[in-house]
C-alpha cells in the first residue's frame, strides 16, 4: 500500500521541484498550484492527488492548531512556542507558592491576586531564561582513573592551569610577626592580613600590589574589612580600631574592649564583635553608633560566624553549645547543644541552610539550621580548628597544619577529602575568596593562597559586588548601599517574615472595630428572599429547599457520629472486660505491681 502511494506521489513531487522556492506571495497562488497538481494527477491517477492536497491541507491545519509561527518565507517554525525551561532552574528562582484561592473572595481582590501571581511567574520565568546567558562556568577538578583528587598537589594544579590562575597560588613568608588572620573584601579583590604580633597588610592580591603595611605595636586578635576596601577594623589588644586603606587610624572605639572575633553584616552596615568578657556588641559603621551590647554570660567568646541569609550571629561556646543571636534580643534566639566538648569553629553556608561545626570531641557536624536538625556527623582524628565554607559549598577544615577541603558534606556521606594541602605551621585563619577558586590560609609562617577548583561563584552580580568595578562605580554603589541600609530591628530568623500578612494584628484590629461600632461591619447580610409572584422556583423556596437538604445532611452526620461513638464505647467496654479477665489470672510477678 505504502509502496504504491509513493510511486504515485513521486512524479508529482518531481513536478514540484521544478517550481521556484516558496515565497510569501505563494499563498496567493495556492489555488493555482493546486490546480496544477490536479492536472498532473490526471496524468497519473484520478483520486490520489486529491488525497495529497487534502493531506497538505490537514498538515497546515495541524500547524495552525499547534500555534506554530509561520515565517515570511513560508517555512514553519521547527521549535514552536516558548523555549522549555528546566524544572530545577525554575525552582531556583521560585520565591513563593501560588496564592491559595479563598472561597468567596471579593472580585477585585481575586483579580489583583491573579494578576500578581501572573507577574511573579513571568519574573521567575524571565530570570530562569537569563540564567542561560551567564558567561562563566564553575571550575572543577577530576582525577584520572584510580587517582584521588586529594593526592593532587597544588604544584600540579598550578602547572596545569593558565598563567593568571597559576599566579594565584603563592606563599607569603612572614615568619616574624607570627600567626596570621585574614579577610577577603566582599568583591574578593583585596586581602587583609593581621599578624598576631601587630603586623597589618592590605594587598590587592591579584595584582600583588601592596596597599598599606603597618605595625600597630600591639597584639592583634582579628581583622575585618568593612563595607568596602577603603576601611577595615582591627581588634587589638585592648580596643577596637578602624583604619583606612592607607593605614591611617580613623577611630579607636573604646566602647569595644577585648574583642576577639568580628563579623561584618554588609547589608546592615553592622560590625558584630565578641569579646573575652563575653559581650556581643554591634557597631553601626555608617553612623558610628553602638546598636546593641549583649552580655551573653557564657565566658570567653572566640568562635563566631554569621548567617549570610538572615544576619543572625552564631556563637560557639566551651560547653559545646552553639547560640544564635540578633541585636534585638538580650537572650539567645536558639541554643543548640552540638558537641560533647567545646566548640572550636562554626560556619554557615551561603544559602543559610546548613551549619557546620567542629568541636574538641574531634567531630565535624552538619546541621540544617532552618529545622535545627543534625544531618551528618563525621569523625576527624585530629579535629578541625578552623572551618570555612565557599560560595559553592566546599568546606575547608584545618587540622593542625593540614588544610583539607571537602565536597558535598551535607548531601552525601563523605569519606575522603576533595583536596588536601600541608602548610608550614599551624593554621590560624582561613577564608575562601569570593568569586575566585582560591582559599587563603593564614598560618604561623605567613600566608598561603591555595587553588581550589570549583570553590567560587563563577558569575557575580555587577550591582551587588563587582570585582572589576571602578572607583566611580564603587562610590555609586556605596551611596546606593547606604540608602538601602537595613535597620537592625529587621534582623529576624526568617528574613521573609516582613513580606507576609500579619493576620494576628489584623484580626485584633477587626475585633477592636467591632467593639467600637457595636456591630460587625464585615458581617454578611442576612438573606432576604425577593418577593416574587410568578414562577415556582422563587428565591425564597430555593433557599428553603437548600436549608432542607442541609438539615438532612446534618441529621445524617449526627446519626453517623452517634453510631460511631456507640461503637467505640462498645469496643472499649469489651476491651475492659478482657483486661479484667486477664488481670484475674494472677501471675507471680504481680506482687511487684503498684
Amino acid at each position: 500500500m505504502a509502496a504504491t502511494s509513493e510511486a504515485v506521489v513521486n512524479p508529482a513531487h518531481v513536478e514540484k521541484t521544478k517550481k521556484p522556492p516558496a515565497r510569501y506571495w505563494d499563498e496567493l497562488q495556492d489555488g493555482k498550484d493546486e490546480n496544477k497538481v490536479g492536472k498532473d494527477g490526471e496524468q497519473t491517477g484520478e483520486t490520489l492527488p486529491q488525497k495529497h492536497v487534502e493531506k497538505a491541507k490537514k498538515r497546515k491545519n495541524d500547524e495552525d492548531r499547534g500555534d506554530a509561527k509561520k515565517f515570511i518565507s513560508g517555512k514553519p517554525d521547527p521549535f514552536p512556542g516558548p523555549a522549555h525551561i528546566s524544572k530545577d532552574r525554575m525552582q531556583k528562582f521560585k520565591r513563593r507558592d501560588k496564592t491559595k484561592k479563598i472561597p468567596r473572595q471579593h472580585y477585585k481582590l481575586k483579580d489583583m491576586m491573579a494578576r500578581s501571581d501572573e507577574v511573579s511567574e513571568l519574573a521567575q520565568k524571565q530570570a530562569a531564561r537569563i540564567d542561560l546567558l551567564l558567561p562563566e562556568d564553575a571550575g572543577f577538578l577530576e582525577g584520572d582513573e584510580d587517582e584521588d583528587t586529594c593526592t593532587i598537589s597544588q604544584e600540579d594544579i598550578s602547572d596545569a592551569v593558565d598563567i593568571t590562575s597559576a599566579s594565584k597560588y603563592f606563599d607569603l613568608k612572614l615568619s616574624q610577626f607570627g600567626p596570621y588572620r585574614l579577610d577577603y573584601s566582599r568583591t574578593g579583590r583585596h586581602l587583609l592580613l593581621g599578624g598576631r604580633r601587630g603586623h597589618i597588610a592590605c594587598i590587592d592580591w591579584q595584582t600583588k600590589r601592596l596597599m598599606c603595611e603597618i605595625n600597630v605595636m600591639e597584639s592583634i586578635n582579628d581583622v575585618k574589612w568593612l563595607h568596602s576596601e577603603a576601611m577595615y577594623a582591627v581588634a587589638q589588644k585592648k580596643w577596637l580600631y578602624i583604619y583606612d586603606s592607607n593605614g591611617i587610624e580613623l577611630h579607636c572605639i573604646r566602647k569595644f574592649n577585648d574583642v576577639l572575633r568580628m563579623q561584618f553584616l554588609p547589608y546592615h552596615f553592622l560590625l558584630a564583635t565578641v569579646s573575652a568578657t563575653s559581650f556581643l556588641q554591634y557597631l553601626d559603621v555608617s553612623v558610628g553608633k553602638e546598636v546593641a551590647a549583649i552580655n551573653t554570660k557564657t565566658g570567653r567568646l572566640d568562635v563566631m560566624c554569621q548567617n549570610p541569609q538572615n544576619a543572625i550571629v552564631h556563637l560557639g561556646h566551651s560547653n559545646g553549645t552553639v547560640t544564635l543571636w540578633s541585636p534585638n534580643q538580650k537572650e539567645a534566639l536558639v541554643k543548640m547543644l552540638c558537641h560533647q566538648g567545646a566548640v572550636r569553629s562554626v560556619a554557615v553556608d551561603k544559602t543559610g541552610t546548613y551549619m557546620v561545626t567542629s568541636g574538641m570531641d574531634k567531630k565535624l557536624k552538619v546541621y540544617d539550621i532552618r529545622a535545627f536538625k543534625p544531618l551528618k556527623s563525621y569523625f576527624l582524628p585530629a579535629g578541625a580548628s578552623c572551618l570555612s565554607l565557599s560560595q559553592r559549598g566546599l568546606l575547608s577544615a584545618a587540622t593542625g597544619d593540614i588544610v583539607q577541603v571537602y565536597r558535598d558534606v551535607w548531601s552525601t556521606p563523605v569519606t575522603k577529602p576533595y583536596m588536601a594541602h600541608r602548610v608550614q605551621r599551624t593554621v590560624w585563619g582561613m577564608h575562601f575568596c569570593p568569586f575566585e577558586d582560591v582559599l587563603g590560609v593564614g598560618h604561623g609562617e605567613g600566608f598561603t593562597s591555595m587553588l581550589i577548583p570549583g570553590a567560587g561563584e563563577p558569575n557575580f552580580d555587577g550591582l551587588d559586588s563587582n570585582p572589576y568595578r571602578s572607583a566611580k562605580q564603587r562610590q555609586e554603589w556605596e551611596v546606593k548601599a547606604l540608602l538601602e541600609k537595613i535597620h537592625p530591628e529587621l534582623i529576624t530568623l526568617d528574613p521573609t517574615e516582613l513580606g507576609q500578612v500579619d493576620q494576628a494584628t489584623s484580626q485584633q484590629k477587626h475585633q477592636d472595630r467591632v467593639q467600637a461600632l457595636g456591630f460587625d461591619p464585615l458581617a454578611k447580610e442576612k438573606f432576604i428572599p425577593r418577593y416574587k409572584k410568578k414562577g415556582r422556583s422563587s428565591a425564597g423556596s430555593i433557599e428553603r429547599r437548600k436549608r432542607q437538604v442541609a438539615n438532612e445532611d446534618l441529621r445524617e452526620t449526627v446519626q453517623q457520629s452517634s453510631e460511631d461513638k456507640m461503637k467505640i464505647e462498645k469496643e472499649r467496654k469489651e476491651r475492659e472486660k478482657k483486661e479484667v479477665l486477664l488481670s484475674s489470672k494472677k501471675s507471680a510477678l504481680d506482687r511487684f505491681k503498684k
Binding site: D131, D144, Y267, Q309, I486, G518
Partner: protein, 445 residues
Amino acid sequence: MKVKLLSRNPDDYVRETKLDIQRVPRNYDPSLHPFEVSREYTRALNATKLERVFAKPFLASLDGHRDGVNCLAKHTTNLSTLLSGSCDGEVKVWNLTKRECVRTLQAHEGFVRGMVVRHCGTSFFTVGDDKTIKQWKIEAPAYGEEEEPLNTILGKTVFTGLDHHRKEGVFATCGQQVDVWDEQRSSPIRSFTWGVDSFSAVRFNPVETELLASCASDRSIVLYDMREPAPLKKVIMTMRSNTVCWNPMEAYYFTCSNEDYNLYTYDMRHLEKPVTVHMDHVSAVLDLDYSPTGKEFVSASFDKTIRIFPKDGGHSREVYHTKRMQHVICIKWSADNKYILSGSDEMNIRLWKANAAEKLGVLAPRERQAANYSQKLKEKYQHHPQIKRIANHRHLPKIIYHQTREQRVMKEARRKKERNVRKHSRPGTVPVVSEKEKHVVTVVK
C-alpha cells in the same frame, strides 16, 4: 587529571574606552541577593519619605479680581485658558502658562453666578444676578471695537447655575426652575419644576448627554431627561447639596457636595443609598470636580481647604491649604489631569498640582523608570504601619486639626449613646443604620 579554574578575562568585564558605558554583568540568583524583602521595604520607606519631602503642590496664585471669585470655567479645547467670574460681575480670561490675565470684561451687574464654555471653544455663556444670560466671544475684541456680548437673553428670575450640552447647541440654567435652552431661541425649550424651590446647580451628564442633574434647596437632588417633559426622580437628603458632578468615565455615578461636611457618590440607578460617603471636611463643601480619568475628584470647602478623594474611598488622600486662602468657592480639575484650580473668597485663583510630589516637565527615561518603580514599591508596602504613618501624615491648620478631633469625639459619643440604647432595648427595635443610609430621607419617582 582534568582541571579548570575560574579565570576571567578582565576585557569582558571592563569597558574598553572611557566613552563607553560601564559593563554591569548581572546574576539574578536569589542566594546572591539576600534580604530581598527587607531591602525592598527600606527602599519603599525611603520612597515614601522622599514623596513627603517633595510634596510641594502649590504652583501659582493668579490675582487681579477685585472681589471674591465665584465661578471658574475650563476652556473645552485649550488647556492653557481659564475663565473666572467674580462677585462684582467681572469676568477674566487667564493664560495659565504665562500666569497672567489676558482679558477682562464687565459681564454682569452683581455676581457672575455661572459660566460655561461652548463645546466648540469659540464662545462662552455667563449668567448673573441681573437676570440675564449672555454669550461672549472667547477672542478679545479687536482694537477700537466695543466689548459686547454676542447674545443676551433676559430671564424672568435670577439664574444661579449654567451648563452646556456636550455636543449640541443646547444649554441648561437653573434658578427658580431648571430651564433647557436652545441657543437660537430666546425662550426655554423645556422648563422643569418639582415643588416650589430654587436650584443651586445643574449639570449635564458628559456621556449620556441628554441627562441632567440638579441640586435643589429643598435638600433634594433631581435627575432629568432632556427629552421628557417631567423630571425623572429625586432623592431627598437630610441636608442641602451645593453642587453635583458626574463621573466622566462611569456615566451612572455622580457625586454631590453637601452642607453636612460630606460628599456623597450616588449610583443614578439606585438612589436609596449612596455608594460611598466621603468624609473629612470640617465645614460645608461648596464645590467639586472630577478628574478627567474619573478615578478621583477634588472638593472645595468652606473650611478653607481643598481635598482630593479617590472615587471609591471614604477619606481624602490629600489636603491642600495655605495661610492666605479663605473659603474656597469654586474648583476645577484641569483636562490634562495634572493641575487643580481653585477660586476663593479672597479674590485669588490658585494653581495646584494634582499629584503633590510629582515632578513637572519632561522626564528622562531613567527618571520615569525610577518614579514608576518607587510608585510600585509604595503601593506594595503601603499597609506597613511605619510607611502608612508617614504616607498619611499631613500638616493641618490648627483650627482644622482641632475641629477634626472635636468632631471625632462628638461622633464617638453619638455612637456610644446609640450603642447603649440598643443594648438596653428589645432586640431588633433599634436597628443598625449604616452611615450610608443615615443621610437619605426618601427617593421620589
